[in-house]
């Protein structure tokens, strides 16, 4: 600001005085400290990633030489192919693809169920006159802090009694239920910022709960939907405990598949295959981050909804 102002003054009296250049910023001790710290942080994540990536592209012979930081002498995708098509998880040797498709099948209903339930609950709590809304919200908030392990056994009994235990639907329902407290709070807080007068106008114009939701509120929810979508895709995809507890023998998600592969494989450990499998499992959430990451930031920072 001051630079622009002074530049303007200088510009006005340009013939009488030489243009004074702004002094270049020196590298100070503080900035060095910051850069060093950030570099260490980056290395902390990058070095293991580098090792995983290079190892997955090596042959086992090369790995046995023990030089884990070396680049592969022979670049090969054999480990990736093997992990995807042939690796054994327990007695099933069809590779990770089984887990991958299970994960996709779990993800889609879980996403739809959890977001649909919580967006409508959040909308009702924020914008409609719900009796005991405050109490309900408080209970919801408390539920967000209950560790999953405590309610695991009752949940197994409940899902069994409604006949979804051991199916993809069981996993989806449990995901939806467990995500609800946090998601409802997120949606409710987002909708609290919608001006009361817009809601009043809609109530006078239509008065229909669902029509207002679909025509007015849902179109205003783009940002927050992206945020919740990313949160949910990441947490559902990376989940292990719910998958291993509620998924049946043939419906285990990719993470369970991966863990079985790595821990219970017979014979010698194939590190290259393990690494490739780990990377394969991590790819979907990464892709989501790259695709919609910028909306994520926009969604988090967008506070008020402008009219």
């Amino acid at each position: 600001m001051t630079d622009i102002a002074s530049a303007a003054t200088i510009g006005a009296t340009v013939d009488s005085r030489p243009v004074v250049r702004r002094r270049k910023k020196r590298i100070t001790g503080r900035s060095i400290a910051v850069i060093v710290f950030l570099t260490i942080c980056a290395l902390f994540f990058c070095v293991p990633l580098y090792v995983v990536l290079t190892t997955s592209l090596k042959t086992m012979d090369e790995i046995r030489q023990g030089n884990i930081f070396a680049l592969p002498q022979v670049w090969t995708l054999e480990a990736w192919r093997f992990a995807w098509f042939e690796a054994c998880s327990g007695i099933n040797c069809d590779g990770l693809r089984v887990g991958f498709w299970n994960s996709v099948l779990i993800l889609i209903p879980s996403l739809i169920l959890s977001i649909a339930l919580s967006i409508v609950t959040g909308y009702a709590l924020a914008l409609w006159d719900v009796r005991w809304a405050g109490t309900f919200l408080f209970l919801m908030f408390m539920c967000a802090f209950v560790p999953f392990q405590i309610i695991m056994y009752p949940l197994i009994a409940m899902t069994r009694s409604i006949g979804v235990y051991g199916t993809i639907w069981g996993v989806a329902v449990v995901h939806a239920v467990l995500a609800m407290p946090v998601l409802v709070l997120i949606f409710r807080n987002y909708y609290k910022d919608i001006p009361q007068e817009i809601m009043n106008a809609a109530i006078m114009d239509s008065g229909s709960f669902w029509r207002i939701f679909f025509e007015i509120i849902l179109p205003m929810s783009g940002n927050i939907l992206i945020v919740v979508l990313i949160l949910q895709i990441t947490s559902i995809w990376n989940d292990y405990l719910i998958g291993v507890t509620f998924g049946g023998f043939n419906t285990q998600p990719m993470t369970v598949n991966l863990a079985n592969m790595v821990t219970v494989s017979t014979g010698t450990a194939s590190y290259n295959v393990d690494m490739a499998a780990a990377l394969l499992t991590a790819i979907p959430p990464l892709l989501i981050y790259f695709l919609v990451g910028k909306f994520f930031v926009a969604g988090i920072t967008a506070g008020a909804i402008k009219g």
């Binding site: 106008a201 008065g207 229909s208 007015i216």
Partner: protein, 366 residues
Amino acid sequence: MPRVSFERIHKTYGAVSILKDLNLSVEHGDFLVLLGPSGCGKTTLLNMLAGLTDVTDGRIMIGDRDVTDLDPKDRGLAMVFQSYALYPTKTVRGNLRFGLASARLSSEEVDRRVAWAAKLLQIEPLLDRKPAQLSGGQRQRVAIGRALVKHAEVLLFDEPLSNLDAKLRTEMRLEIKRLHEELNPTVVYVTHDQIEAMTMATKIAVMNNGVIQQFGTPDQIYERPANLFVAGFIGSPAMNLKKARVAKRDGLVTGHFGNGQEILLNDYRFAQVPQEGAEIVVGMRPEYFGVPDSPVNGAAAVFDLPVAYTERTGSDATGYLRFDEGLLSLRVEPSQAARLAGGQKVRVAFPPGKANLFDAATGGRL
């Protein structure tokens, strides 16, 4: 039969009572303005009529229908909000169409009404824009359009002009007045701006602390305020309210001010003549004072007072004279204002029959 009536309305929030035993009714085609300072309950009253706030006790009638417990959409009302409350993701056309969301009309009828309202408000070129692409005045027109498409019996306005700048406000004021004359709906309009009230209303209800202080035409409210609150609230600059003591001598009733000045009150139409020595408040509108230092004939009061200062507001100017402890304001010609230098004594006269008298203890009109 009145078009809108409030009958014995009570409203409490917890232990706090907002409105107590309020009765009010307006006829078909009336333009009722609810006027009062912030927190006087006027918006609460409007929201109760709209159905956005519950009524604690009492009854609201629209025509011969008891709407007290009806859903807002079933009351046959349309409302314009202070912040316009347009739906941000819908186009202007979408906003107008959503105004008819509960009406179950054929698509052609909806289109016809949207076109009609757009033409009436001259927003046809804006129909495919989003609210964010409109200026404040345009948004206000769209908001009014959304209310008009409903062909509602009663139109509600909640301080619709307070977010506009002064010039637009004057324009929209005339626009709303024109629409009222053209379409002649019953209007209930909430504002704290007395100019809006005076210019648009056919009836004004002045409210304070949840009580209707006076209900009448703008002229009645202005010329014969019912109590000290109304007298002080309506008028800009405000009415001069000065305490005086009643004296009766030789058939003449006079008011004696604390500074020894006096005013003749014989021309005042007393509802009841006060006792000798009673404490009263004399209200004198600033615009009824004669030109300072001009010859005086038959005035009710003549004051010789020092000038404190003057204020010019464009077409008008106000002089402030020292009167007892306080100030006495009077409207002067802007060309005269320069003559009134600070400290100089001037002679001003107040004509007979123009004063308003109030009981000092109760505040009621005498």
